[in-house]
């Protein structure tokens, strides 16, 4: 058993040779497939249509070659055609079902998914928090940005750390600062762009020294969207080490380690595949493909070859941290990909350029999509009217020039106050692509 000095919460599993990871996956897969086909009407239907049964799968290779994929549209279609609120993922009469959460709804109607109280996401976060420095008896600020998945307290049970709860709201910052001074937490979870902007403002107004306040914090979990270079530089100045986290295909989380070389996908709890976004052909490591996941730890969440819509670049080489599980980088949502003069563009290609200007540093923008392929990249960009030092037409022209230099396509910018775009949702959930 690893001591508290170990870098790993579970060294045996986290550094397991890949052949053993595959063996473990094969051992778990059979039981998961049986459970899913028995308890999930959707999975049973998808597999029946494909003419295949769990018993036909005898290896991971079989699975990759023969098992059918499904996506959120299939869940929604099953829900609507069968009048089944779970989308066929579960049966409400199932005595083992105790919780149904929903996805954020970023790609449309929130998708329900059954979850159990002790989920693989909890185990994943426990490993992440340990890597970030959480140890037994220490405190952690826990300000997860949503209650829609309910309470996940097992990462803390597993690490021995004690969470101090806060709602994810910049108005809470003075009290968070009080808690940091009183409890000296070593972990802060979760920071987002709005929270960082809130802290930036609060430090300016209060005169508090960020380095002094954050001195006890060994690691900060950051999520919601990719960390911008400006915010990275700012938190570096504050003496904070941020660890970006993302969803591992709605099955669990994936988080960076201290080497910050991609999101760690714990493959003892889920199979990670990277497939051609328009088919089932595997995409080689290093190339952009769609993340497809299969749960191995949560039978109640029957995501068996679930197409996530996330475009990722996969890396299965051992990480410098010693972990042997896959890592991936997120490029964006498949549904957010647009084509301008033959060039594929994702919101992430634009965001940091927009954040680089003081008037638009909130990074609020939308791509206006008028056709499947366009001649001009049209952007609706949010700005802070109080920060304008020139005319708004000059600002629009400046942003057009920056994005044009970056992507080499014609750009047309339409400015709108930040407050208008914030009517569409919290900053990280504003639809990045909208119809004209």
């Amino acid at each position: 058993m690893a001591s508290t000095n170990s870098r790993y919460l579970n060294e045996h599993v986290e550094t397991m040779p890949r052949e053993q990871i595959h063996q473990l996956q094969e051992h778990k897969l059979g039981a998961i497939l049986d459970y899913a086909c028995e308890r999930s009407p959707l999975i049973a239907s998808v597999w029946e249509k494909a003419g295949i049964k769990p018993g036909d799968i005898s290896s991971l290779e079989d699975f990759a070659a023969r098992a059918p994929c499904f996506d959120k549209d299939d869940i929604r279609a099953f829900r609507d055609t069968h009048n089944d609120p779970t989308g066929g993922l579960a049966r409400l009469s199932d005595i083992d079902l105790n919780k149904i959460a929903t996805t954020s709804g970023t790609t449309g109607d929130p998708t329900p998914f059954p979850i159990r109280v002790r989920a693989s996401s909890d185990e994943g976060y426990a490993r992440d928090f340990w890597e970030m420095g959480a140890r037994p008896g220490e405190y952690a600020i826990l300000a997860t940005f949503t209650f829609r998945i309910g309470i996940g307290n097992h990462p803390f049970i597993n690490t021995g750390a004690v969470p101090i709860l806060f709602r994810h709201d910049p108005h809470q910052i003075p009290r968070m600062a009080d808690a940091i001074r009183k409890f000296k937490p070593t972990l802060f979870s979760l920071m987002s762009t709005p929270m960082l902007l809130g802290f930036e403002k609060w430090f300016k107004e209060s005169g508090v020294d960020p380095r002094e306040l954050f001195a006890p914090i060994k690691g900060v979990l950051y999520g919601g969207e990719a960390l911008s270079p400006r915010l990275k530089a700012m938190t570096d100045r504050w003496g904070l080490e941020l660890f970006e986290t993302t969803s591992f295909g709605d099955v669990m989380s994936a988080t960076e380690c201290r080497d910050h070389s991609g999101f760690h996908a714990f493959e003892d709890m889920a199979i990670a595949e990277c497939l051609d976004p328009n088919g089932n052909t595997p995409v080689a490591d290093g190339e952009v493909g769609e993340l497809v996941v299969t749960t191995l730890a949560n039978p109640e969440v029957p995501f068996i070859r679930f197409r996530t819509d996330d475009l990722v670049v996969m890396n299965r080489e051992t990480c410098p941290c010693g972990r042997t599980h896959a890592r991936f980088h997120i490029r964006g949502r498949k549904g957010d990909q647009i084509k301008v003069q033959g060039k594929l563009i994702l919101p992430l290609d634009i965001r940091f350029a927009i954040e680089s200007e003081p008037e638009t540093q909130g990074g609020l923008f939308q791509i206006i999509k008028s056709a499947s392929e366009m001649d001009v990249l049209r952007l609706r960009v949010g700005h802070n009217p109080d920060a304008l030092t020139t005319s708004s037409s000059e600002l629009a022209g400046r942003i057009e020039s920056i994005v044009n230099n970056l992507l080499d396509v014609p750009v047309q910018v339409e400015l709108t106050p930040d407050s208008e775009l914030l009517k569409l949702g919290p900053p990280h959930k504003i639809p990045r692509v909208t119809k004209a």
Binding site: P85, G150, I164, R175, A179
Partner: protein, 226 residues
């Protein structure tokens, strides 16, 4: 042998009428709150496999951990939504699609959000037991005939919930000593906590009803003035 240190399970919060205070809770304290919740929820006699929509903020663990655990142990199903006007469509979708008979945590913000998105709260909540978490929401829904309206909130550090009989929020009398001082409810812990909670103010005006409740629970009820 050194004296063991008992770390809390988590640190929540409570309002004393003037300020927020930290509320460390141990596993034992959570467990007692779970059992209290089960007792109160059992008075409704909802069948097992019923759905329970819990609307809350993430920092409400002092309320939500015992509630969710009680729901799950009672073999019911938990659905979650944020206590936010932005959640109106999620809440509407849960109610329409899953038809849960119990809804906890309706707030003024939730009602505002539903109205903004064009949903009728009276229609959505009809036929359900709805526990409001603030007086403004309670006032807005009071009088809607098809809603069985109840309250669920913290009385200072003490979790409190109305039973099937209504008429006040039950507080676990083994865990908490309730007092009334110039119309304000005061709370003291009885079973040993760290830190001790002694006669803390709650900012809540009301009275303590120690009469036998028709629901059969012997715990006193806090009858809020507003």
């Amino acid at each position: 042998m050194s004296i063991p240190q008992f770390l809390p399970h988590f640190v929540g919060h409570y309002w004393d009428g003037a300020d927020w205070n930290y509320l460390p809770m141990t596993h034992r304290e959570v467990e007692r709150a779970v059992l209290t919740n089960i007792r109160v929820m059992d008075t409704f006699r909802h069948p097992t496999r019923s759905g329970v929509l819990v609307i809350a903020c993430f920092d409400d663990w002092a309320l939500t951990i015992p509630l969710e655990e009680a729901v799950i142990r009672s073999k019911n199903i938990v659905y979650n939504a944020d206590d936010s006007p932005f959640e109106a469509n999620r809440i509407e979708a849960f109610l329409r699609r899953f038809n849960p008979p119990m809804v906890f945590g309706v707030s003024e913000g939730v009602l505002q959000g539903l109205q903004t998105m064009g949903h009728s709260a009276a229609e959505l909540f009809a036929g359900r037991t709805v526990w409001c978490r603030d007086p403004a929401a309670y006032r807005q829904l009071a009088g809607v005939p098809e809603i069985r309206l109840r309250r669920w909130q913290q009385i200072g550090p003490a979790a409190a919930m109305e039973c099937v009989a209504g008429g006040g929020l039950h507080v676990d009398a083994e865990e908490w000593l309730l007092e009334e001082d110039n119309g304000e409810i005061l709370v003291t812990n009885r079973l040993g906590r760290f830190p001790e909670i002694t006669r803390v103010t709650t900012g809540l005006k009301g009275s303590i009803d120690t009469r036998c409740c028709p629901c059969g629970i012997s715990n006193p009820k806090v009858v809020l003035a507003d």
